[in-house]
């Protein structure tokens, strides 16, 4: 991938706020769609081999996305995102909380804000996540660990195949 694209990630531990900035080599309308349309979101938002499955998404103020992160073993982790403010192609805000499969939220969740801007065909997305709890990060990290583990196994398999051919 293009390594010249900005990516920064900072955390204010005291206020428990995460700041993320990332540039993408695409025009703003496409990047906006990638963050606001379920059919595109589901293609990238889950760290592989996890899958993202959107049950429904109603992208308007007061509307919701109810979705699950699905583990390679088929275990589903449900979450609700509720949109609190939308300024098309500029900004949107939402409240994110884990939930059970019947859409009952586990409070408290976290507040998310996304800002979009474009310069010379490069779109910058800024994300601010407030009060991300350690428990939530742990769940996310658990998925990351699974991914790392799977990759390690795949690599080992490839290595073994290569070695056995010799």
């Amino acid at each position: 991938m293009n390594n010249n694209l900005l990516f920064d990630f900072t955390v204010d531990k005291i206020t428990r706020t995460v700041f993320i900035n990332r540039e993408f080599a695409a025009e703003l309308p496409l990047v906006w769609d990638a963050f606001t349309k379920p059919e595109i979101l589901d293609q990238w938002v889950a760290p592989k081999p996890w899958l993202s499955k959107t049950k429904y998404m109603n992208f308007k103020v007061g509307g919701r996305r109810f979705y699950a992160m699905v583990s390679p073993e088929g275990q589903e982790r449900w979450s609700i995102q509720e949109y609190t403010s939308i300024t098309p192609k500029i900004n949107f805000k939402m409240y994110n909380a884990f939930a059970d499969k019947d859409e009952n939220p586990e409070l408290p969740g976290s507040e998310w804000e996304y800002n979009f801007s474009e310069q010379n065909g490069i779109t910058k997305v800024s994300i601010i996540i407030k009060n991300e709890s350690l428990a939530r990060m742990e769940k996310m990290i658990e998925m990351g660990f699974t991914e790392g583990f799977k990759m390690a196994i795949d690599n080992l398999e490839k290595l073994l195949t290569t070695l056995s051919k010799k």
Partner: protein
């Protein structure tokens, strides 16, 4: 249930306690002398910090000394690094999705 470390360090008094005992191990009374608060309030803060394993207790005779668990503080940074990696992975996936969509449009 595990206590939230971020909540533990979000409290200004607890942050001051961490700063104090980072320099040297101290008894609850010695710690309380530095604050305009009761010994009970300080004990409660120490209990929360101990439950998060941010501080550890050592018995010396009849006194209990509190000191900082440096490793635990480092662990917080490790958690955050891993969280950052997940975002990086996710965005790399989005890069591929975006380039695929762009190619298909042409």
């Amino acid at each position: 249930m595990r206590r939230d470390i971020f909540q533990a360090i979000a409290d200004p008094t607890r942050r001051s306690i961490i700063a104090l005992i980072a320099l040297q191990a101290m008894t609850p009374n010695a710690i309380a002398d530095n604050f305009n608060t009761t010994r009970q309030a300080v004990s409660k803060h120490l209990r929360i910090l101990t439950e998060c394993e941010l501080v550890k207790q050592e018995h010396q005779g009849r006194e209990i000394y509190y000191s900082l668990e440096i490793d635990k503080m480092k662990e917080i940074d490790k958690w955050l690094d891993q969280y950052r990696n997940i975002w990086e992975t996710r965005f790399n996936q989005l890069d591929s999705v975006l380039s695929t969509i762009k190619k298909n449009k042409k």
